[in-house]
Each structure stands twice: as structure tokens, then as C-alpha cells.
């Protein structure tokens, strides 16, 4: 068993009197897809926002590549190589694919934008992800389908040699064919050596691509399990009751 690239231990977070995360442990491994599942209000979003630096946890330890780190803001997590693709994608419809991928981090050539360099890099990244569904990378995002937009958002996240990519419900708004495409892309990310954290409500998706499943139940991590060792019914049990007979965790 290799060491996790990102490891959380004993994370706690409250909003006023509401204790949202209670001593949560969580691991993500390079080259693997770890699915974070749980019912509404279980604390999935809070947990990833703690990783992304949007919230700061009250207590708990974050280890990244074997070193203890502090994440106090979005910059910290970006600098570590952690990228988040939020559910609303945060793309500018009026800009083209290249412009969106480099938004906020444009390459410069003196005071002017280095368009050709950015375009080449963007094309290379999309090629590396085997994305061939877009006709031109100079078309505006408003002309893209939902799946293509998701692809652009994911490509933007991996453009920066990131090590951990967090995907928040990437297939929630997609049709069947596009869901298949995006799941293939998620798998490819992991095969390229990234640690992928996938938040999903859809257990079919989770069983299709995830190597590990981490079910949250009312703010506590039930037990992080290997996908091949569990059945869907057991995961449902973990999500709804927090325990299930005969399930062995990876870091137990």
C-alpha cells in the first residue's frame, strides 16, 4: 500500500453551534480515484472547502506528500497543486476555451498576452486528456455542450501540473453519453498519475471509476474502503447509517 499524497486526520469544523465535521480522517492516493460520498448535509462540501482553503478547519492535521502543511487560503492549496472543479464550473461564457483555461493566470510576453503560447499549451493539455470532441479551441464556451464545458473546466484544473484534482459532482447535470465521456476523462486523469477526489451522489458512477470510497455520515467518516471489497448495498448502508457489517477499511 503506497503512502497517500493527501492525508487528513482529525478534521473538525463548526459553523456556530453546528458541528459539521467531527474528527474526519481522509486519504487520497496518486493515480487513484477516491470517491467522497454521503447524503445531503453529511459534510462533503465542507470537507473539500477545507482542503481548498475556502474554510479553515478548527483542528486537524493535513499531510501533503509526507509533509505536514497548513492550508489557510485558496492560494495555499493552489500552491500545493490542489485544484477544485466546482459544480457550477466557473467558466466565462463569452471567452473561448483557451482564454478560460488560462483565466487569472495568463502567460505574458512583455506587457502583451502570449496567445500562441497559451493556445499551444491548451491544445497539448487537451490532447493529453484525449479530448477530441471540441471543434476548435478558439470557440467560445457559450457554444459548448454541458459535457464539453465540464471537460474544459477539468482541463483547466490539470493545466498547472496539479497533483490533486477535486471534482464536485461532475456528472450531475449531464446526459448518459456525456456522463460516460466525463467518467472516462476522470479515469484518464488518475491513470496520468493524479490523485482524483470525486464527489458524487451517483453510486453507479462511483463504482465505475473509483478505487476508494469514503462515505461521510453526519459529519463523521464512516470508514474509507476499497471499491473492489464492497457491494453497493453496503455503501448505501454506510451512507445512511454510518456502519455496515463486515466492511474492512483501508486505514483501519
Amino acid at each position: 500500500m503506497s503512502e497517500p499524497i493527501l492525508s487528513l486526520r482529525g478534521m473538525n469544523k463548526s459553523f456556530g453551534p453546528v458541528h459539521v465535521l467531527k474528527n474526519v480522517d481522509f486519504d487520497a492516493y496518486a493515480g487513484k480515484v477516491t470517491a467522497l460520498v454521503g447524503d445531503n448535509g453529511a459534510g462533503k462540501s465542507t470537507l473539500i472547502k477545507c482542503i481548498a482553503g475556502i474554510y479553515t478547519a478548527e483542528s486537524g492535521e493535513i499531510t501533503f506528500e509526507g509533509k505536514k502543511v497548513e492550508i489557510n487560503g485558496p492560494r495555499d492549496s493552489t500552491n500545493l497543486g490542489i485544484e477544485v472543479v466546482y459544480q457550477d464550473l466557473a467558466l466565462c461564457d463569452n471567452l473561448d476555451i483557451v482564454q478560460n483555461m488560462f483565466l487569472g493566470r495568463e502567460e505574458r510576453n512583455g506587457i502583451t498576452l502570449d496567445e500562441t503560447h497559451m493556445e499551444s499549451l491548451a491544445a497539448k493539455t487537451l490532447d493529453g486528456l484525449s479530448v477530441r470532441t471540441v471543434k476548435s479551441i478558439r470557440q467560445t464556451v457559450s457554444s459548448l455542450s454541458g459535457g464539453q464545458r465540464q471537460t474544459v473546466a477539468i482541463a483547466r484544473a490539470v493545466l498547472w501540473n496539479s497533483k490533486v484534482v477535486i471534482l464536485d459532482e461532475p456528472t450531475a447535470a449531464l446526459g448518459v453519453a456525456q456522463t460516460v465521456q466525463v467518467l472516462k476523462l476522470v479515469r484518464r486523469l488518475a491513470d496520468n498519475g493524479l490523485a482524483v477526489i470525486l464527489i458524487s451522489h451517483n453510486l453507479n458512477d462511483v463504482f465505475e471509476v473509483a478505487d476508494y470510497i469514503a462515505p461521510l455520515y453526519l459529519g463523521t467518516m464512516a470508514v474509507q474502503v476499497e471499491t473492489k471489497n464492497v457491494k453497493a448495498s453496503q455503501v448505501v448502508e454506510l451512507i445512511t447509517t454510518g456502519k455496515s457489517e463486515g466492511v474492512v477499511g483501508v486505514n483501519a
Binding site: L91, D93, N94, Q99, L103, G104, S143
Partner: protein
């Protein structure tokens, strides 16, 4: 070799076709661009040429251009604000206030014209900073902020004009901007050098992209656009170099000095919008402010700077107003000025919803507005009818903008 060129030609033809298809797709996705304004301008030009013998004369064309420049410059400033999805209703009176500042500095404080102009631009930028800060930090709707400053600036202008009412300008350099012309020889040089640089840069860009194996604009299309531009440019230079005074009493020939001034602003502004990080961020904030914020863009700063640029350009328009009428009056920048400027930007293709538009829209739309007024005036229509028609054209443009946006959201 011949096979190779054949293939190249075939590829070019195919890509011209695909360029047309791309444009249709672009329109469907809500980006209608400047084509309607362009076609409208040609249509209007043809209609007025055939219905009035005075329309296509050197004198009328020169007048049309010089008189519409202040509104075009204000419209250029408004493009920056409109790209954010905001509005600046006070730009007209900001130009009046800044123009009055400049003239008073020249008259009462004996400033040289360039120092007075520089101070008036600084005043404009400061006014823009004030409004931009209120909009960006307190998130007061720009409509309300600039409506207040619209009234306030009108008040300031009245106070500055004082009891005399009108402040006369006597500086011959400032007056020359709108009233004098380049000599015919210099006009030709200016026109040929300008066009050569433009065409050369475009060609260089295409070749650079080809070298890097990136998709570039179809060569045919580029040739078509640039050929048309060169023809229009040289044609205009020829017409403006014709005698339009009454020799031997007066001789008026050449490109009005304000044309190079306007083009310089256009080039500088287009560079800022298309080639710099600030420009990219401006479009991003106008398209999706939340996405821009999450990408680490300082949204407040972008918003504030846009208002500063808008009022700064209004200050330059104030100089042009002073130059045209040799004076600043309490109504300078009032009346229909702001409405025509907003109309010019929107008719040119800038979206009121933010995120879409180019600086050249201001000039294209400004020409449409100017041609309507000029042509209808020549045909003897009353100002009432002119307002009605201009209002109708603006409404049509805004509807096209809204409908194309709606179409994009449905698909």
C-alpha cells in the same frame, strides 16, 4: 508544386465556407458582432447618396466625421463600462466638466494647452475613480450612481460657467484639432503608412500562427476584409483631399486632424482590450464576475479602472467639444450627447448585458447615428423625425442583442 498550391487553394476555400458557418454558429451562440451595423451603414449610405446630391460630397463627409467624433470618443469610453454590464449616464456631462476645466485653465491660469488637457484628463479619471469605487466597493447599481453624478456634474458645469454662461476658448492648438486639416500630401502619407502597418501586422499574425501550426483566419477572408479596408481608406483619403472650400477665398483640403487623434485612441484602446491582461480580465468580469473572482482576478479593481477609463475618454471628448464650438457652455455634453453615445456603442454591436463588444463598435455605431442625422437633415426632415428614427434604430439594435442572448441561453 502546382498540386501543392491547388491543395492550398482548396483548403482555403473550404475554410472560407467554414468561416461563414462559424459566424452563423457565433450568432446563434449570442455573439452577433458588428456585421448588422456594417451593413446598416452601407445601406444608409446608399439610400442618402441616391436621395440627396449633397450627401456624398467632400464637404459633407468631412463635416459628418468631425462633428461625430466627440460622441464617438464618449462611446469608446462607454464600451469599457458596458463590457462589465454596467452603464455610465454621466459621461456626457463629465466631458462638459473636463472641457470647462481645460478651457478655464488655459484662459484664467495661462496653462499651455497640453498641460491644461492633461489636468482635465486627470480630473476625468478622478471622477471615474469616484464613481467606480462606489459601484465596485459598495455595489450600488451603476445606474443610480451615475444618475446622481449626471445631475451633479451638470451642476458643477453650471457653476463653472458662472454668470457668463459660455466660456470662450482662444487656444489655436485646441481649436485646430476639429477645424484644421492635414495637408493633402501628409494625408496621403498618413493613410498609406497607416494602412500598410495595419495590413502588415495582420499578415504577420497569420504567418506567425501558421508557423506555430495553429489554426488561423482563412486567407481569402482576410484578403477580402483587408482589400475592402484599403479601398475604403484610400477612397476616403482621396475624397477628403478634394477641395471643399470656396477658392480663392478659402481653401479646405485634407484629412481633419481629429481623424488621426480618433484612430490613435482606437488603436490604444483596442490594444488594451485585446492584448493585455487587464483587457482579458475586463471581458471575464463582464462575462461571469463570480468565475473571474474565483480565478483570482481583482474584480473590484477591474470595475473601478473601467469607470476611470470611461471618464478619462470623456475628458478627451470634452476637449473635442471645446474645439468644435470654440467654447464650453452649460449644455456641453448634455442634451442627446450621452444618449447618442450609448446608442452608438449598442448599434455598433456592444452588448448591454456585458462581456461582448469591441472598441470599434463605438466608431461604427457613431457613424450610423451621424449618417442618420446628417442624411435626414439634408433631406429636410425635422429634428423630431430624426429622433424618432434614431430611437427606432437603437431599439432594433438592443432587440437584436437581447434576442441573440436569449437564443444562446435556450440552446
Amino acid at each position: 508544386m502546382s498540386v501543392n498550391t491547388d491543395n492550398l487553394a482548396a483548403a482555403d476555400e473550404a475554410s472560407l465556407k467554414s468561416a461563414v458557418l462559424d459566424y452563423v454558429a457565433k450568432v446563434k451562440s449570442g455573439d452577433i458582432g458588428a456585421l448588422p451595423a456594417f451593413l446598416g451603414l452601407i445601406t444608409l449610405g446608399l439610400v442618402f447618396t441616391f436621395s440627396s446630391q449633397f450627401f456624398l460630397t467632400a464637404r459633407n463627409i468631412a463635416n459628418l466625421i468631425t462633428q461625430s467624433t466627440p460622441v464617438m470618443v464618449i462611446a469608446m469610453g462607454l464600451v469599457f463600462v458596458l463590457l462589465l454590464g454596467e452603464i455610465d449616464l454621466s459621461a456626457g456631462f463629465a466631458s462638459g466638466v473636463c472641457g470647462a476645466t481645460m478651457v478655464l485653465l488655459i484662459n484664467d491660469h495661462k496653462f499651455p494647452w497640453y498641460a491644461a488637457l492633461a489636468v482635465s484628463i486627470v480630473v476625468g479619471v478622478a471622477l471615474g475613480w469616484f464613481m467606480g469605487t462606489l459601484v465596485a466597493r459598495l455595489r450600488i447599481p451603476s445606474f443610480v450612481v451615475t444618475l446622481s453624478t449626471f445631475l451633479a456634474f451638470q451642476g458643477i458645469l453650471l457653476l463653472m460657467a458662472g454668470n457668463g454662461g459660455t466660456i470662450l476658448l482662444q487656444d489655436r492648438f485646441i481649436i485646430a484639432v476639429e477645424n484644421n486639416n492635414l495637408t493633402p500630401f501628409v494625408s496621403w502619407i498618413f493613410s498609406i503608412v497607416g494602412l500598410t502597418i495595419y495590413v502588415g501586422l495582420g499578415l504577420n499574425r497569420i504567418l506567425h500562427r501558421r508557423r506555430k501550426n495553429l489554426k488561423s483566419e482563412p486567407f481569402n477572408l482576410w484578403l477580402l476584409k483587408n482589400g475592402a479596408l484599403v479601398l475604403v481608406g484610400l477612397g476616403l483619403t482621396y475624397v477628403l483631399n478634394l477641395q471643399r472650400g470656396n477658392p480663392p477665398n478659402s481653401s479646405i483640403k485634407g484629412i481633419p486632424i481629429v481623424v488621426p487623434v480618433l484612430l490613435a485612441l482606437l488603436v490604444a484602446g483596442t490594444f488594451l482590450l485585446n492584448r493585455t491582461i487587464f483587457g482579458r480580465h475586463l471581458y471575464a468580469v463582464g462575462g461571469n464576475a463570480e468565475a473571474a473572482r474565483r480565478s483570482g482576478i481583482n474584480v473590484r479593481r477591474v470595475r473601478t479602472i473601467a469607470f476611470m477609463i470611461c471618464s478619462g475618454l470623456a475628458a478627451i471628448a470634452g476637449m473635442l467639444f471645446a474645439s468644435i464650438s470654440n467654447s464650453i457652455s452649460p449644455t456641453t455634453g448634455g442634451g442627446t450627447t450621452l444618449l447618442y453615445a450609448v446608442g452608438a456603442a449598442v448599434i455598433g454591436g456592444t452588448s448591454l448585458f456585458g462581456g461582448k463588444g469591441k472598441l470599434r463598435d463605438a466608431i461604427l455605431g457613431g457613424l450610423v447615428v451621424a449618417v442618420i442625422n446628417n442624411g435626414m437633415g439634408l433631406l429636410g426632415f425635422s429634428p423630431g423625425t430624426q429622433y424618432l428614427v434614431t430611437g427606432g434604430v437603437l431599439l432594433v439594435s438592443a432587440s437584436v442583442d437581447a434576442l441573440s442572448r436569449k437564443g444562446a441561453n435556450v440552446s
